[in-house]
Symmetry: C2
Subunit: 157 residues, 2 copies
C-alpha cells in the first residue's frame, strides 16, 4: 500500500467516520471529569438552565469525533492508502451550533477543504479539512477546520 | 454579588486557572477512550514515533483546561462578580505547539483579549479570550481563542 503524498490529495474527498449515540450516563461521566457545569452533569438543574435539559460538553463531542476518526483510519489502513502526515499545526473555527442531548445519534465526517503550499516548509504541504457532526435531521451540531502537514512528493531522481 | 456586564469587562484582565501535572497512566487512559494513536497509548511504540516518547492527546490538554476553568470559576463565585455569559459561538485558532509528556506540570490561564459589539445581537456583546497552558520553563504548550456572548448593560430607565 503506497502512502499518499500531498500532491495526491483531492479537494472534496470525503470520509464518513460513522455514527455515535450519546447516552445520559456517558454525558454525565465525561462532564464530571472535565466540564462539571450543571447543564452537563445534573438533569434536574439542566431543565432550569438556558438549554432546558442535559447537554453534552462540547469537548465530549470533539473527543468522540477524534475517536471515530482514528477508528476509521485504522479500519481503512489495510485497504486504502494512508496520508504521509506529520504534526498538526492546530485547529480553527470550532463551533457547536446545536446542543447534543441524551439519545441523539450523530453522523461524523471529514472532507478535504483546501490545500496550501508552504514556502516555509518546502517538503510539506498543508491540508485543510472540514470536520462535522450532524444529527438525524441533518442539522449541523459540531464543526471545525482541521490542519495537517502532509509530505510532498520528492522530485523524481 | 452583582454580575458583570459586557461593559464591565476589562481587556487584559487575566485569570490564573491553576496547575496540572499529567501522569502517564492518565494520558494513556484518556487516549484509550478517545484518541488511541500509538504515541498516546503505547510507551514503547511512542519511543519510535516522531515524538520520541509518550505524549498526551491534544483533546486531553483541552479537557483539562476546561476542568480548571470551571473549578476556578466556582471557587471565585462567592467572592468575585461573575459574567452574565450566554452560549459560546465557538473557539478559534486552537494549537498545541509543544507536546505534553508524562510528569510535565502545566500552568493554565485565561486573559481577555478583545471585545466586540454585535450589530446582530444588540443585547449581547462578544468577548474574546486568549487561553493558554505553559510548562515550567514558560514555553507555550496549548492555546486557543475563546469567544463568549455576554449581556450588555440595559439602558438606564
Amino acid at each position: 500500500m503506497t502512502p499518499l503524498y500531498w500532491e495526491d490529495v483531492q479537494i472534496g474527498a470525503r470520509r464518513e467516520l460513522g455514527h455515535y449515540t450519546f447516552t445520559e450516563d456517558e454525558i454525565i461521566a465525561f462532564a464530571r471529569k472535565y466540564d462539571p457545569q450543571p447543564f452537563h452533569i445534573d438533569p434536574a438543574a439542566a431543565r432550569h438552565s438556558l438549554f432546558g435539559g442535559l447537554i453534552a460538553s462540547g469537548w465530549h463531542t470533539a473527543a468522540i469525533w477524534m475517536k471515530l476518526a482514528i477508528a476509521e483510519r485504522e479500519a481503512a489502513a489495510g485497504t486504502s492508502p494512508l496520508l504521509r502526515t506529520g504534526v498538526s499545526p492546530g485547529y480553527a473555527d470550532m463551533t457547536w451550533p446545536k446542543p447534543v442531548r441524551p439519545g441523539m445519534r450523530l453522523a461524523f465526517s471529514s472532507e478535504i477543504a483546501g490545500k496550501t503550499e508552504l514556502r516555509s516548509r518546502p517538503a510539506m504541504g498543508l491540508i485543510l479539512s472540514r470536520n462535522e457532526a450532524r444529527d438525524d435531521t441533518g442539522d449541523l451540531v459540531f464543526a471545525f477546520t482541521g490542519k495537517s502537514f502532509v509530505e510532498r512528493r520528492p522530485p523524481a531522481a
